[in-house]
């Protein structure tokens, strides 16, 4: 009904217009992305619990040495989207921390030993990755939604002030410091609000990925578009979930960002997350260096392109760099079929982290496709709309999305090839 696109990624655009994903629909792609979703969901089950624990309980602790030591209360915290009591049950499993996570926290890669030893030996979940994602959201800020504007409002400042004074009640030194440097404390609270934001975002994604894995294992998801559609439906189903920040000081709950502000999972968490983490993030230290003076780092934050959709996984794959921390976390929870795939390609165990990182890249192109299709569905027109003008509006939207992958760092062309590993 409308002429073919002449865009560099016309093939991908035509696939999106036919209800497909940016990732080609092949059995291996499907196996890879589902396997990695499952391996991602287990550490994510730790991330969201700890993010909420830090936002709600650790709060402004000036020496938060134990912030990664989740208490039982938060390991058992009922996920709102799994378990018998959830109002909207996405995963059929239980509501407490995933059994594989519990087992890993006990034994790690080594042996069962006290938590503190696992922590010091760094034989644990790399929570630093979750914090890097939170910081990307906190730093980029202007990514749609109203969350960030609210953090500058008088109402927020008053709520934060109340929480700070309650938290440091009976601590004259910290109260004096607060009086001297109020902005420093407020800025910390703002960052903690992003901890809560990201925790509430991932609380949804972990059960979504677990359910996709279970469905795949029993033959319920048979193609990449089906996997994408599951994500699209999930995005809509939880779009209206409240995003808030509550702090518990003793028995008192202080609502720094109340649910009544009307902030939603889609607008204030999911879309900013995708923008900040999948696309932008920030240049990280590692084997690859960036020279800002030589314009290797864009002047405009909106042009930042250091997210997984642009990552060259090989140089990125160094110790201590956020995506590598995630890759190492996922390594512990790979399903057997992905282990076998990695053994059969490349250098087997030697480059498993790289292979896994590229699988993750494929899987995130599929998640991004789901976001693009969900936005098209919410803001534009059905793919089978009979009106050519509507189809052209969809086309312009898809082409504008693909324009973001025209820069040479984008991996969209690479993931079209199965031998990119």
């Amino acid at each position: 009904m409308i002429p073919p696109s002449t865009h560099k990624y016309a093939d991908v655009i035509h696939r999106l217009e036919a209800g497909g994903s940016m990732l080609p629909d092949t059995p291996e792609n499907l196996e890879q992305i589902i396997g990695i979703y499952k391996a991602y969901a287990v550490p994510m089950d730790f991330y969201w619990r700890d993010l909420l624990y830090i936002a709600e309980r650790v709060f402004l602790n000036p020496l938060p040495a134990f912030k990664y030591f989740i208490p039982k209360e938060y390991m058992d915290l009922a996920n709102s989207y799994s378990g018998d009591n959830s109002k909207l049950r996405i995963w059929r499993g239980g509501e407490k921390a995933h059994p594989e996570l519990v087992a890993f926290m006990k034994h790690g890669e080594t042996i069962s030993m006290p938590k503190i030893l696992h922590h010091l030996w760094h034989d644990r979940i790399n929570m630093e990755f979750a914090e890097a994602c939170m910081q990307a959201m906190f730093w980029h800020q202007d990514m749609g939604g109203r969350f960030n504007d609210y953090l500058e409002s008088k109402e927020y400042l008053a709520n934060a002030d109340r929480a700070i004074k309650a938290y440091f009640k009976g601590n004259p030194l910290m109260l004096l410091l607060y009086k001297l440097f109020p902005e420093m404390f407020i800025e910390q609270v703002r960052q903690l609000s992003y901890y809560s934001n990201l925790g509430l975002f991932w609380e949804v994604m972990a059960p979504v990925f677990f359910e996709m894995s279970d469905l795949y294992n029993e033959g319920g998801i048979k193609s990449v578009p089906e996997a994408m559609d599951f994500l699209v439906n999930g995005i809509f189903a939880v779009a209206g979930r409240p995003i808030y920040h509550h702090v518990y000081i003793g028995n008192e709950c202080i609502e720094i960002i109340p649910k009544s502000k009307g902030f939603t999972w889609l607008y204030e968490a999911a879309l900013p997350y995708v923008e900040a983490v999948f696309y932008r993030t920030s240049p990280f230290r590692g084997t690859k260096s960036y020279n800002a003076q030589a314009n290797q780092v864009p002047a405009d934050q909106a042009d930042f392109h250091y997210g997984i959709l642009y990552a060259d996984v090989y140089p990125v794959g160094s110790a201590g760099i956020p995506p590598t921390l995630l890759m190492q976390d996922m390594l512990h929870f790979l399903p057997a079929y992905l282990e076998a795939t990695y053994q059969n390609h490349g250098r087997g165990d030697e480059d498993k982290l790289i292979q896994l990182g590229i699988t993750f890249q494929r899987s995130m192109y599929n998640v991004t496709s789901a976001v693009i299709q969900a936005l098209r569905c919410a803001l534009l027109y059905p793919l089978n709309d009979p009106d050519p003008e509507h189809l052209l509006a969809n086309r312009r939207f898809f082409e504008a999305q693909m324009d973001r992958f025209l820069r040479p760092e984008a991996r969209l062309s690479d993931i079209q090839q199965q031998n990119y590993r």
Binding site: R146, V238, A239, G240, Y381
Partner: protein, 133 residues
């Protein structure tokens, strides 16, 4: 003439919208003097949303109210006035674009019945739920 809510109730095809307005605690406001311009999605529009979407919103009244407010303008605006401007500020805060006058399209929804004048405003019936963004 009847109020906006009474008109909608009599029409019989806005059951979900009316239930949502009540759940969001907006009934009283919409019964007030206004005047308002309401873009009212029919039941089929809500039914077309993926499973769980409406339930999550109904369970969270402030979030539901935000989406519903995106369907309301302050003031009475008939089609003839609406098409004279490219977008209008909704009560939610985000603008509602007018994309076409014939057929009359508001954002990605088509107005299937325009200019239903009520006591406290005007209703335009739309075939899709519109979302900010």
């Amino acid at each position: 003439m009847a109020s906006i809510l009474n008109t909608a109730a009599e029409a019989g095809c806005f059951k979900t919208l009316l239930a949502a307005v009540a759940a969001a605690g907006l009934s009283e406001a919409l019964e007030g003097q206004g005047p308002f311009t309401v873009f009212a999605p029919v039941d089929d529009a809500f039914a077309a949303l993926p499973a769980g979407t409406v339930q999550t919103l109904v369970d969270n009244p402030p979030q539901l109210a935000r989406i519903l407010k995106y369907h309301v303008l302050a003031g009475t605006y008939l089609k003839a006035q609406l098409v004279s401007q490219s977008d209008w500020p909704s009560l939610e805060g985000a603008p509602i674009p007018i994309r076409r006058s014939e057929p009359f399209e508001v954002k990605n929804a088509t107005v299937v019945n325009a200019d239903i004048v009520c006591d406290n405003g005007v209703v335009h019936v739309i075939d899709r739920v519109i979302l900010p963004g």
